[in-house]
Amino acid sequence: MGISHSRTLRCEKLNKCFDGVTALQAFTLALPRCGIVAIIGPNGAGKTTLLNVVTGFLRPDSGLCLLDDRDITRAPPHRIVRMGLARTFQDLRLIRLISVLENVMLARPNQRGDKLWAALTRTGVRNEERRNQQNAMRLLDFVGLAGKAEEPAGELSYGEQKLLTLACCLATEARILLLDEPIAGVHPELARQILGLLENLRDSGKLIVFIEHDLAAVREIADRVIVMDEGRIIADGSPSDVLNRPEIMEAYVA
């Protein structure tokens, strides 16, 4: 198993069933502190269920999720985000009516203005808003959306909305980002840009876990590939190792 404190996120024997259909089966995994980990597998392999369970949106039937050796299995989603584990969704989730900038500001952690008394008296809220705005602008600059900060989020193109969800995820200051198909359905040029951003983030010390169907992208940026099928890991290793095994590729394609 290695030394436990060198691990950030661990799953131990997670089980999850939906009406008799098994989504996770004694799923056990330990992730490193940083790097890029790709999760691949056929539809229905349990990839998104894993993400939902780890981030607190679904309760497993049994098993444990540990973040830095702290049990997060039953923690609500917002607490898990604050502990440093943020996520994006496969179906884009954003607040479409408010501006791009405000979407990012929403995700800033520990906002004093979220508290009733501070919101009523407005003490310190204006300064905090200015700081959050500057921080959000830096993140929009990083993902290349600074020019569209004032536009309603709903007016962005599909690919730009994917970038925005990434910026929101970063705004939480989480160390671990779980991304559900970050480049699916995106124009190839933009997809390249997103992959570049993920490499940047890895180099700054974050752990990126992403679900992806595009094996070329996985081969290009992942340090480690986990192949899931029927709620279990059927292969786990470096891209060159895993993606060249014929029996794995057969299971994946089938």
């Binding site: 609500p76 917002h78 985000v81 994006t88 009516l97 929403l106 004093r112 979220d114 919101a119 809220v125």
Partner: protein
């Protein structure tokens, strides 16, 4: 002038009810169908404390607000983890239960006979008996309610509430404790409605259950929808319109039997027109169910 002052007091009371409901229904996206129940709860708590226990007006007013806020937890704690539809049903049940209590707990509330002889407000020894004095007080309370709702619906707190309304899952993923925010919005909303109830009781000096029916809740909801849910001015405009409109109809010189029915017809037609022509209300940005 007396008459205009009287109408304006009611405008102030209904502005409180409409903006407080808008915090919940318009900004947070939680449709409560029980605003009149909390309005009544404030009125009864305040009336009973002053008439039966001899409490001062301010104490009674605050007690009404606290009782309403605490009772809101009885609905919000079990129902907020569930989907929105359950919240509507839970508040509807509460509306029915509270009205039944007002109407049937005769030994406490006087039942259909109501509570007479509620003293006029006295603040630090100054009794507010004139209509002008009461209008000033009601306006200050309306201003306070408006400021509270404005501060909670703008800035980071408002952004979080709007996120819950638009996509609660995203709000959670963005790190918002959505359950706490919803409980807070509900408690503040009903405490403000209770404040309106207390003002009403001490202004009219007599309350009975007929002022706190489901129809009354629907009137308050209509004000929010007509004016525009989730906007700064919408509920204000809705409250002014629906309080003054029936009064204006009085001056058409119709027989009272016709006038009363005509009022209902005009309400219905107005709501229908707004729904058809401006589903977001007169000045609103947000339409229900979209």
């Amino acid at each position: 002038m007396e008459y205009v002052g009287h109408v304006l007091v009611f405008v102030a009371i209904y502005v409180i009810l409409a903006v407080s409901l808008d915090l919940l229904a318009g900004h947070t996206g939680m449709l409560s169908v029980a605003p009149a129940a909390f309005y009544g709860l404030g009125a009864y708590t305040s009336a009973l404390l002053t008439v039966e226990a001899g409490a001062s007006f301010l104490v009674a007013l605050l007690a009404g607000m606290i009782v309403a806020g605490v009772l809101s937890l009885a609905v919000s704690l079990p129902s907020l983890r569930l989907v929105d539809e359950y919240f509507v049903i839970a508040t509807f049940a509460l509306q029915i239960v509270l009205f039944s209590l007002f109407n049937n707990w005769v030994s406490l509330t006087g039942g259909p006979m109501g509570i007479p002889g509620i003293p006029p407000p006295a603040i630090f020894g100054i009794r507010v008996t004139s209509r002008a004095g009461f209008l000033v007080m009601a306006s200050l309370c309306a201003g306070l309610a408006y400021t509270v709702v404005w501060r909670l619906s703008t800035g980071p707190f408002g952004r979080a509430l709007h996120a819950i309304r638009e996509d609660e899952v995203f709000a959670k993923a963005a790190g918002k404790d959505t359950v706490r925010l919803k409980i807070t919005a509900f408690a503040i909303s009903v405490a403000l409605a209770a404040m309106a109830g207390s003002l009403y009781a001490h202004y009219i000096s007599y309350i009975d259950p007929s002022s706190f029916t489901v129809m009354e809740s629907i009137l308050i909801i209509s004000m929010v929808i007509l004016g525009g849910a989730g906007s700064l001015w919408g509920p204000l405009i809705g409250a002014i319109a629906l309080v003054t409109l029936p009064e204006a109809l009085r001056f058409l010189g119709l027989p009272s039997s016709v006038a009363a029915n005509l009022r209902q017809v005009v309400y219905g037609a107005l709501l229908l027109l707004v729904m058809l022509l401006r589903p977001r209300g007169l000045v609103g940005k947000y339409a229900f169910g979209q």
